[in-house]
């Protein structure tokens, strides 16, 4: 109930253009009532697109993080501390994300933030978080430069000490897909389309580099926008390029119409995308012709992971109004990692909560050192803030639904 009213509030705030002002006011009200039991309230932020095209993914993130918080409270994971999830809707907009980040920083009760989904949004939030040493663990933003710096291909440097992520990067997703297309599918000529956003461009860049290295040909490289639904000019170019597959870097609201229009134009070639395409709505929109399309998703399929059994059971028992979707597992683990870091930071100080800034620095240190077995597998961060796991799964649409994964593996390079 509480999340829903926040989500509504977030949407309304978006309308007034006062996301920051309205949002923070409503939360301080909650702190007052929430801390009535004498326990210390520690807040964990969750920023994701809770409305708009990516809502299905965003709500999965929100409820999964909520589950981690609820379980921690029920099990008294940190004695004397009640955790509270503060969800904010970024509408997949970098500027709203930045405002949300500022609101989290301004609230001294916030110990860490889970999210966002979009790499471009993550990019705009990080300098705000970093200045305040506020930990942000993204469970969905996969652009490599977020952790490894803008020159990650040549010279990796940690961009933001406060930023972590527990999902494999596009540096792996793109090459993994290239490898699969060239070796497994035996396709050597590909057209690429991206949506001009950080995530989509990054995906296509890493895909193309690996594909060329293998000896494949990028017959055509096109850029569209994230809200394009009309691909007619792209499609006529794809047609004359002779490409046998279209690799799409972007999210499903624009990726699905591309598939639909490709097939309607008589091009019976598959579209392959990243995790941004892997959503049931993709199939609904693209229609029956989307059978045979592919998408990669970082990590092994949750349903197939023994470590995720508990998470899935608890999630279903909680009857959340939306499925956990593809980022549920990582969002649950991200929230869990922040809870553990808060615990470690408090333990260091003998259970007392240090004042504002000092506390956040300690949580940041603890986050870097965190190590536990999460729903998606072992979670521990390297010197850039990335998780160790490099597993990716290739999904395919069969009979009008995403299959259970045609191939799962680590990308060796």
């Amino acid at each position: 109930m509480f999340q829903r009213s926040l989500a509504v509030l977030g949407a309304v705030a978006g309308v007034c253009g006062l996301a920051t002002a309205c949002g923070s006011r409503s939360q301080s009200a909650h702190t007052a009532s929430g801390s009535g039991g004498g326990a210390t309230v520690v807040k964990i932020g969750l920023d994701a697109p809770l409305t708009g095209g990516l809502q299905a993914l965003g709500l999965g993130m929100q409820y999964s993080a909520q589950l981690a918080v609820d379980l921690a409270n029920k099990q008294q994971a940190v004695p004397g501390v009640t955790f509270q999830l503060v969800a904010k809707d970024d509408q997949a907009s970098a500027s709203i994300g930045e405002q949300n980040a500022a609101a989290y920083v301004a609230d001294p009760g916030v110990a860490g933030v889970v999210g966002p989904l979009n790499s471009a949004v993550a990019q705009s939030m990080q300098s705000v978080f970093n200045q305040a040493n506020l930990v942000d663990v993204s469970s969905a933003s996969t652009n490599p430069s977020l952790t490894q710096g803008p020159n990650w291909k040549t010279a990796k440097t940690r961009a933001y000490p406060s930023f972590f992520r527990d999902i494999t990067t596009d540096a792996v997703q793109g090459p993994f897909a290239a490898d699969y297309v060239f070796k497994t599918l035996g396709i050597h000529s590909v057209a690429t389309v991206d949506d001009g956003q950080t995530y989509g461009v990054g995906l296509v860049e890493t895909f193309s580099a690996e594909f060329k290295k293998l000896g494949g040909q990028i017959a055509l490289a096109q850029t569209a926008t994230a809200n394009t639904t009309d691909y007619s000019s792209v499609i006529s170019a794809v047609k004359s390029s002779g490409a046998k597959l279209v690799y799409y870097g972007g999210e499903y609201p624009a990726g699905a119409p591309l598939s639909k229009e490709l097939k309607a134009a008589g091009l019976n070639i598959p579209e392959m995308g990243g995790d941004g395409n892997q959503d049931p709505t993709y199939i609904k929109t693209a229609g029956p012709a989307s059978n045979g399309d592919f998408a990669t998703v970082p990590g092994a399929p949750l349903a197939a992971l023994p470590s995720a059994k508990d998470f899935i059971a608890q999630y279903q028992a909680a009857h959340f109004p939306a499925p956990y979707a593809i980022y549920g597992g990582t969002s649950y683990d991200a929230a869990e990692s922040i809870i553990l870091s808060v615990k470690a930071a408090l333990a260091q100080d003998g259970g007392k909560m240090p004042a504002g800034d000092a506390f956040r620095s300690q949580v940041e240190k603890a986050e870097q050192a965190v190590s536990f077995d999460g729903a998606t597998g072992p979670v521990a961060f390297d010197q850039y803030g990335d998780v160790g796991s490099k597993v990716i799964t290739m999904y395919k649409i069969e009979n009008g639904a995403w299959d259970q994964g045609v191939y799962s593996g680590a990308f060796a390079g």
Binding site: V15, Q222, D230, S232, P253, G266, G287
Partner: protein, 317 residues
């Protein structure tokens, strides 16, 4: 670049332009009668789409009809919803501000546009509980495209062009041949004198909003059929393009709106399609389509500030 590819781009441009034109008529008619840029018109278009989808998804049996049989019902639903919304907006939001400074109705229109988006996003429901916060699937024609010597004409394209032609012919007949149509023209040309003829300006304004909304609903149906989805925020870009088309054709001029739409559609598809075709310019293709559209607008306005078919703007003091 082959002739077939070029012709395909022309076909795409004509279809896209026909859709822009259908929406642009609403901007131009309302502007013509009360000099208001109805920024919420894009959302009226969007509501038309949801009205049509509602008939398809909620009325038992419609989804099981062959699409061509369901279309008239969906169209009716779309038109009813769009017209009701537009007329309601006029009555409740714009009419009370008729004598207020120009900025007041303009800001109201922008606010209304955001509000309508949020209303659909928050409260629209599909059978089975799905909502409209993300794009929702729209029925589309099965079956193959028509192949005219290599140029593909999608079934939805054909529907779009025929619908636009019928609507424009109907509109031309209405404006030029009916008593109400002439009264509307009169109100646009000289509102005070029109009142002296016994014409109720309020009624003409309602007619302008209603006719514009009905055509926008037709456009929304074609949008849904072509792309297989509609979304609560689709009115923004479509509205901006259609507004551009209306200005391009000469705002206030109904034939100009259609011409502006088609010129804009062709310019967008041809510029982006040709650029997309060559390796060196591919990056300036689809992603830059909107840029080329606005470059065209600026060029036309530099050479003909009143738009392609527009009259002198300072016609009335």
């Amino acid at each position: 670049m082959s002739v077939t590819v070029l012709l395909q781009l022309v076909e795409n441009g004509l279809v896209l332009g026909a859709m822009y034109g259908l929406i642009a008529v609403g901007y131009t008619m309302v502007y013509g009668t009360i000099q208001l840029i109805n920024f919420a018109h894009g959302e009226i278009f969007m509501l038309g789409g949801f009205g049509a989808l509602t008939v398809y998804a909620w009325i038992p049996g419609v989804a099981h009809l062959p699409l061509f049989a369901a279309l008239p019902l969906m169209l009716l639903g779309g038109v009813v919803v769009a017209v009701a919304a537009a007329v309601g907006a006029e009555r409740l939001a714009y009419r009370p501000l008729r004598t207020a400074p120009r900025l007041a109705p303009l800001i109201t229109a922008i606010g209304l546009s955001l509000a309508l988006q949020q209303v659909v996003s928050l409260w629209y429901r599909l059978p089975g509980g799905g909502n409209a916060k993300a794009p929702v699937a729209f029925p589309s024609f099965g079956g193959k495209a028509f192949d005219l010597g290599g140029v593909l004409v999608q079934r939805a394209d054909l529907f779009t062009v025929i619908a636009a032609a019928v609507c424009m012919a109907g509109l031309a007949w209405f404006v030029a041949r009916t008593r109400s149509g002439r009264a509307m023209q009169a109100t646009a040309q000289d509102p005070d004198t029109a009142r002296l003829m016994g014409i109720d300006p309020d009624r003409m304004i309602v007619v302008a909003f209603a006719v514009g909304a009905a055509l926008a609903a037709v456009a929304a149906l074609t949008q849904g059929l072509r792309y297989g989805q509609i979304s609560f925020d689709m009115g923004f870009v479509a509205g901006l393009k259609a507004f551009t088309a209306a200005v391009l054709g000469g705002i206030g001029n109904v034939r100009g709106a259609m011409l502006g739409g088609i010129v804009l559609g062709l310019a967008e598809e041809l510029s982006s399609g040709i650029l997309a075709h060559f390796r060196d310019t591919a990056q300036y293709g689809q992603a830059w389509a909107d840029v080329w559209a606005f470059v065209l607008l600026i060029l036309v306005l530099l050479l003909r500030p009143q738009g392609l078919l527009g009259e002198r703007v300072a016609d009335r003091a």
